[in-house]
């Protein structure tokens, strides 16, 4: 359900950008969303469709690129990825250090918009 708030924010930001960049009709919105954000694409598309009616964003396609969880261990230098966040174990896969740094997976970005 937080997809509704995300769609609201998305609309607000892009409407402003369309004014700045003189875009009258948005065709495609490229998003980068990290797996840790637990965003369900279907729900986001549904909320976006509902909220964008009558705006310059109506009918635009949401292209959501999912960014995997990538972690770095400052102790042993090990870098590794998690495929599945349900099996997440926040410690180094080699030395088991728990003080690890998240490199990616927390992204929540509008990468670009396409339109005319």
């Amino acid at each position: 359900m937080h997809e509704y708030s995300i769609a609201e924010n998305l609309l607000k930001i892009i409407e402003k950008q369309c004014e700045t960049h003189k875009i009258k009709k948005v065709k495609k919105i490229n998003l980068k969303i990290g797996v840790l954000k637990a965003v369900i694409p279907d729900s986001l598309e549904f909320a976006f469709e509902l909220l964008s009616k009558g705006t310059v964003l109506e009918g635009a396609k949401l292209a959501i690129k999912s960014i995997p969880l990538e972690v770095y261990c400052p102790k042993c230098g090990n870098k590794f990825n998690y495929e599945n966040t349900f099996e997440i174990e926040l410690c180094c896969s080699k030395c088991k250090n728990t003080d690890i740094k998240i490199k990616s997976g927390n992204e929540f970005f509008i990468d670009s918009i396409e339109g005319e």
């Binding site: 359900m1 937080h2 924010n9 930001i13 875009i23 954000k37 637990a38 349900f86 929540f108 396409e114």
Partner: protein, 221 residues
């Protein structure tokens, strides 16, 4: 057709308001707790118990978040402390509080001197995880009656908090709840979180939490 590279944070505006809230709280020396957890895990009851234990020493205020009704605010106001109810049924039945709602709520608390502000978020183990309110401490609560798989099933919520509370711990003896497995899941997902096990049946089980709150406000035991 043209392409414009934006690279903008979707929650940028939310985060700006959260930052402003945090600045306001620090300028006014208010310590803010964001209490999250499933519906019925005992968040309001825990707040009532905290208030009873520390209201003689510190000034507490509460913001209650629910989709509908003022039931929780009524419960808290019986303890004679300032409380504001936020109902999200007016804003699309939102399943979480956001920084803007908190900013409005603190307007009506501005005349009061507050040491600790406890924000009870909407009962939900998913959405509140993403929204910074400007708090200092994030607590996530789960109760024994929900079953022992909740930490494993909702990792983002448990990964993004300072304290995890397991409540209704007295009911373990009546259920198949595997506490060891839950503790293991918490350690795996959030190794730095403080883990507390509480029940209102034994009032001293919330003492560690009280100590943490008092210590944050500079009170030595």
């Amino acid at each position: 057709m043209k392409k414009v590279i934006l690279n903008l944070d979707i929650l940028k505006e939310e985060n700006i308001i959260a930052k402003k809230n945090r600045k306001y709280f620090s300028q006014n020396r208010i310590f803010v707790v964001n209490l999250m957890g499933s519906p019925g895990c005992g968040k309001t009851t825990l707040i009532e118990e905290i208030i009873k234990k520390i209201k003689d020493k510190l000034k507490i205020a509460v913001i209650e978040g629910d989709i509908a009704t003022v039931k929780d605010a009524r419960r808290i106001s019986k303890l004679k402390i300032p409380v504001v109810q936020i109902n999200t049924e007016k804003v699309g039945n939102a399943c979480h509080l956001n920084a803007g709602m908190i900013r409005k709520a603190i307007e009506s608390l501005k005349s009061k001197k507050i040491d600790i502000l406890i924000i009870e978020n909407i009962g939900n183990l998913v959405c509140p995880a993403e929204f910074d309110l400007g708090e200092n401490l994030r607590i996530v609560m789960t109760s024994v009656t929900e079953g022992d798989d909740k930490v494993a099933k909702y990792p983002p919520m448990f990964a993004n908090c300072d304290i995890v509370i397991i409540s209704k711990i007295d009911l373990i003896k009546y259920s198949k709840y595997n506490l060891k497995q839950v503790e293991k899941d918490i350690r795996r997902i959030n190794p730095k979180a403080v883990l507390l096990k509480i029940t209102t049946k034994r009032k001293n089980t919330i003492n560690s939490l009280i100590e943490i709150l008092m210590r944050e406000k500079g009170y030595a035991d």
